[in-house]
């Protein structure tokens, strides 16, 4: 740091520092990392996600000590943990509650990014690493859910692995390769176990490190979306609107941790199944490859995407094809694409429109489901609004965000319900709103009257 007074460390710390940059790293990431001083409630969820990751790893290690990844033993070994291992029930409920709470925290963390434009330049890589973490988390949760080897584990895995069979040409072989058998079986259980306990966690930890390094390189965003690095600086060159992460935010985050742990403990001790949303009732029946339970649904955190999968029927592809044609015409006539792109992009959209009617709706359901996650990666390039934070956007943008959030929640609810014509129509509308929100973002995000953005962050000491 320019102008910092460097003090040579002595004693044991000095011995270490001459061999390993311990003090240097502590300063860089904690005591001399300057974060904007106007963080609010929404900024708890990053550190909480890290806390849940630790909870999951620690409880996971202890569960593996008694769990048996074997088609004949798995279900009973989980019951063994629940009934006979001292404190096993607590460790397992912490792990199962932790899985759901991970998604609660991460969804709120992502929503914070959406509100305050935290993915905008220069934080695109922070966002992309974060999205990669989200993908890993989904894989981790999905594979982990197979391990108890209950009916829901089994048939959930059967459905998700079969998603890959919808890919034209290679699909059926691919899903066979993933399962390692003609149906979900012991082979599938063992490989999912390997991925769940070692492969994905390793990648996950690497991505979390990359996420934080990228964040600390560019600095944190804040609710105003104003760069503190471009604001006034003190004599030592530090942004005066920033405060050292440690002790200010490390202590501040402890409040969030305490609040979180109250909720977490309440669930673990009083409602670990959460009325069938965190642990589904059908999963207390051992897996049976001959009988699908009368109603299967994924765990709540996958249901919004699952609804979109179910929404795509043969009739609905007409609507999507029409939307593609409309998009092609609009881009050709009014879009500001340059050169050949003005022709190429509309032509691609027209081809998509044709394919929508020629390839099975099953494939497009998978595309909608995958696309609804993948599209989030492109958020930094979809948002063209002149300001970052929702605070300085036109008021109707807030309503748009509101509609998006409500749609996401409704899709989530529909995904937990058995299929019915009315619900199917609702999830089709929801799918259009969800995809439209992102695909049309380059258009709507620049419309309206934006409010003046202040030079410096707004902050009032209590």
């Amino acid at each position: 740091m320019a102008g910092e007074k460097t003090v040579e460390t002595t004693g044991l710390l000095g011995w270490i520092d001459r061999r390993f940059p311990l003090s240097k790293m502590f300063k860089e990431h904690m005591s001399e990392y300057y974060a904007p001083k106007n963080f609010n409630f929404w900024y708890f969820f990053g550190s909480l996600a890290l806390l849940v990751l630790v909870i999951q790893i620690v409880t996971g290690i202890f569960l593996v000590m008694n769990y048996k990844p074997d088609g004949n033993l798995a279900f009973n070994s989980v019951e063994f943990i629940m009934r006979e291992v001292p404190w096993g029930w607590l460790i397992r409920y912490m792990h199962s509650t932790g899985a759901s709470m991970f998604f609660v925290v991460v969804y709120l963390h992502m929503l914070r990014g959406l509100f305050y434009g935290s993915y905008r330049k220069p934080r695109e890589l922070v966002w992309i690493f974060g999205m990669a973490i989200f993908l890993c988390l989904m894989g981790e949760a999905f594979m982990g859910y197979l391990l108890p080897w209950g009916q829901m584990s089994y048939w959930g895995a059967q459905v998700i692995v079969n998603l890959f069979s919808a890919i034209p040409f290679i699909g059926p072989e691919l899903s066979l390769w993933i399962r390692g058998d003609y149906v979900v079986s012991d082979a599938t259980l063992n490989r999912f176990f390997a991925f769940h306990v070692i492969a994905i966690p390793l990648v996950l930890i690497g991505l979390v490190v990359a996420h934080i390094i990228a964040l600390h390189e560019v600095g944190s965003n804040n609710p105003d979306g104003v760069e503190i690095k471009e604001g006034p600086k003190d004599a030592k060159g530090r942004p005066i609107d920033g405060i050292p992460f440690h002790p200010y935010y490390s202590v501040h985050d402890l409040v969030g941790v305490a609040g979180f742990l109250i909720v977490f403990a309440a669930i673990v001790f009083f409602a670990p199944e959460m009325g069938g949303y965190f642990l589904e009732f059908n999963n207390f029946i051992p897996a049976d490859s001959l009988k699908t339970p009368p109603h299967i649904a994924p765990v709540w955190y996958f249901t919004p995407f699952y609804s979109m999968l179910r929404a795509i029927t043969a009739d609905f592809t007409w609507v999507l094809a029409a939307a593609s044609v409309l998009g092609a015409v609009a881009l050709f006539l009014r879009g500001n694409l340059r050169g050949v792109w003005r022709i190429v992009v509309p032509v691609i959209l027209l081809i998509v429109a044709v394919l929508l009617r020629t390839i099975d709706a099953k494939f497009w359901g998978v595309v909608a489901m995958g696309g609804s996650v993948v599209i989030l990666f492109f958020l930094p390039w979809l948002d063209h609004s002149p300001v970052r934070s929702i605070r300085y956007r036109p008021t109707w943008h807030k309503y748009l965000y509101g509609i998006f959030i409500v749609t996401f929640l409704i899709l989530g609810y529909l995904g937990t319900q058995p299929p019915s014509p009315v619900f199917n129509l609702m999830s089709q509308i929801g799918t259009l709103i969800y995809l439209g929100f992102f695909l049309l973002m380059p258009v709507w995000s620049r419309l309206g009257t934006f409010k003046p953005v202040p030079e410096r962050i707004t902050f009032s000491a209590h």
Partner: protein, 219 residues
């Protein structure tokens, strides 16, 4: 640092004379770097082959497909039984005369009434009954959408989620696909194909069915 610098000046730490930095670049080095990268890359990719290959079904899983023999006389008329073949549920149904007759009236509601789409239906089952013998229908009870096992709703008449004009059949609880009593998929449901008819043979007297073998598939 001073040591490193002296190396670039042409003299290494131990005083030996190193390469003169002003020498013209040696193009053969580029060739060797490229060759090493290509050969090393090929070796690296080749190493992936056994790991990727280990994901395929094991010999044990491949061998587990032994045929299953079922006594048809044990199935009362109008009922069905489920048998396990290759870990999958296989349905054998004994259809009544009325049910067989009804199959002829369903075409307009079905996506593929004549089983024209490839796969899923052996030649001998490409008829409106989708079976060798109209009375006995054999099919893999796994939805062609995403692999759930549909629930039998054999009786005609309305029910929750069922299409109008329900003449009896199967309804998938996962995503709402519907099939008639020959496993033919209804229009505008997520499943694209009719239920798979596995290879099977009837014994000469017609009282036994052997699932897993036919003219083209030997046990």
């Amino acid at each position: 640092m001073s040591q490193d610098k002296s190396q670039f000046d042409g003299v290494s730490a131990d005083g030996a004379v190193a390469l003169d930095a002003n020498l013209p670049p040696d193009p053969s080095r580029r060739t060797w770097v490229a060759t090493t990268c290509v050969v090393g890359g090929i070796a690296g990719v080749a190493t992936a082959v056994p790991f990727v290959g280990s994901f395929a079904p094991s010999e044990k899983a491949r061998a587990a497909g032994a045929p299953v023999q079922v006594d048809l006389t044990s199935i009362p008329e109008g009922e069905m039984r489920t048998f396990e073949w290759r870990g999958k549920p296989v349905w054998v149904m004994h259809r009544t005369e009325a049910q067989i007759e009804e199959l002829k009236n369903n075409d307009e509601y079905l996506a593929d009434p004549h089983s024209d789409r490839p796969g899923f239906t052996p030649e001998y089952a490409k008829n409106e009954y989708r079976s060798r013998d109209p009375k006995y229908w054999v099919a893999v009870g796994i939805c062609t959408h995403l692999g759930c096992s549909p629930t039998p709703h054999l009786a005609a008449g309305p029910g929750p989620g069922l299409p109008a004009n329900w003449e009896g059949g199967f309804f998938c609880p996962c995503h709402g696909s519907a099939f008639d009593l020959a496993g033919r998929v209804y229009k505008n449901v997520p499943a694209p194909d009719n239920l798979e008819v596995p290879p099977y043979e009837l014994s000469s007297d017609g009282t036994q069915v052997i699932i897993g073998v036919d003219e083209n598939n030997k046990a």
